[in-house]
Amino acid sequence: MANKKKKKLTPVQQEYQALATRIEPKRPVAVNCLRAFVSGGIICVIGQAIEEMFVRWGGFDHKSAAGPTVAVLILISIILTCLGVYDKIAQWAGAGTAVPVTGFANSMSSSALEHRAEGMVLGVGASMFQLAGSVIVFGVAAAFIIGIIHFIVDMV
């Protein structure tokens, strides 16, 4: 892919890109991974604590507590998004806040907030899935394929 792209560039462009790549700072991948591990882990610990509370005081068992736990995490994420804090945390945490369900909630609520000015139907309604839509589309498509594989494996 990278080579195919490079072929289209003129020699001057290639030379320049080599220069630019040498100068521009790289993403600190190792640090980002570590931060994602720590912050994602913290979110999971919070989730676990919420679940334990539902089990201890809410009369749920561990299986049925999953639903309300996710709902609480989503609520916290949306509140932090509305307060303008979530994106600040995410700049530090990276994938740590993007991968869990809180990231999904943030992508939907931030789009909804952003397009509030364009009205409820064409703004909020239409734009809410601007970022989250592709997750759903590819999630459903992947689930369908996995489902077929599962079905075939079961038959054999």
Partner: protein, 336 residues
């Protein structure tokens, strides 16, 4: 008067009668806080959308500049304006309020000097007595249009830049007192094949270098002629690359003091802006505020501002197109 291939000399020396700069709260926390006319505490400026906030910024800058010049709106013959929004709505809508005959221009972040160059040209050639040049950008409206929703938690790479919330305006006049616009060089569109919209500095640096070299070639002067040369919004990455390119081309940039507006407006220690600032507002508020104030104080006599712009659209980069860039240079000298 045309000089060389792509430059104008303004022999009638149009003067910048007055300027105005309006910025948002985040810029007010930066080191240039003393140089702005108005600092808004509220990012929305009391409007109900980011786009309206951006329009209000430009309106306020235009009105303030006209007020400071001692003129009235009716005396301004033409208004050159532009911004980053689709169909340059912020400028056009501000022109609706101002009711001044209007030229809408798009040069992305190079609009500040594009409009100033055109204003000076029109005034110099006798096409008008007074002309207004204004431009602005808003961080949230730019994020919304070009990147992600404002509150979306995405991690920005260290090459990313922070769009300035601010607008700058200048009134250019045939007569009167103020710094004079002496020449301008109009840039070519340069595309070095950079496709990453989070790396505008690297995309724009070759355009800035091309225009600067053209300016000195056309005018047959040396960089040492100017006390200060500034680029618009290359920020850390683009600035380093530009310096490297000058060295490679054996261009004597070291004769003068070369800086970048994108590296002046924020405090890297306390403000999280990655590589630095960008946006139409960046070069506009730094030039019309900070740099012209320094000229008034006598710290700078000859200044060359090279505003840089990335001419991409959200659609073009999604379709995998590279980012074409442009830069326009305007020379401002301490005047009469």
């Amino acid at each position: 008067m045309l000089k060389g291939h792509q430059s104008w000399i303004f022999e009638n020396k149009p003067a910048i009668l007055s300027t105005a700069t309006i910025v948002g709260p985040f810029e007010g926390q930066g080191p240039l806080v003393e140089d702005f006319d108005t600092i808004h505490g509220d990012l929305t400026l009391g409007q109900d959308s980011w786009e309206k906030a951006e329009k209000t910024l430009i309106e306020e800058a235009a009105n303030k500049a006209i007020m400071k010049s001692g003129l009235t709106k009716e005396q301004i013959h033409f208004y050159f304006g532009g911004d980053l929004m689709n169909q340059i709505i912020s400028s056009s809508f501000s022109a609706r309020t101002l009711a001044i005959p209007y030229f809408g221009m798009f040069g992305a972040c190079s609009t500040s000097m594009e409009t100033l160059a055109m204003s000076a040209y029109v005034v110099n050639s006798g096409g008008a007595e007074y002309v207004l040049a204004a431009t602005g950008s808003h961080n949230a409206s730019a994020e919304k249009q070009f990147r992600y929703p404002t509150e979306y938690g995405s991690q920005k790479p260290p090459t990313a830049q922070f769009t300035v919330t601010g607008a700058g305006a200048a009134v250019v006049s045939r007569e009167g007192y103020g710094p004079v616009v002496t020449s301008a060089t109009i840039g070519r569109v340069i595309d070095m094949g950079i496709t990453d919209p989070f790396n505008m500095g690297a995309a724009m640096a070759p355009a800035a270098v091309d225009t600067i070299e053209a300016h000195f070639r056309d005018l047959q002067i040396e960089p040492g002629y100017y006390d200060l040369i500034v680029t618009g919004d290359l920020s850390k990455v683009g600035y380093s690359i530009a310096n490297e390119l000058f060295e490679k081309h054996n261009f004597p940039i070291k004769q003068t003091n070369y800086q970048d507006c994108g590296m002046m407006i924020y405090n890297y220690e306390t403000q999280s802006v990655q590589a630095g600032a960008s946006g139409c507002g960046c070069s506009a508020v730094v030039t019309y505020g900070h740099l012209l104030n320094r000229m008034h104080r006598g710290e700078i006599n000859r200044l060359l501002v090279v505003a840089t712009g990335a001419l991409l659209s959200p659609l073009s980069f999604q379709q995998g197109e590279s980012i074409p860039c442009i830069a326009h240079a305007v020379a401002i000298e301490a005047g009469r």
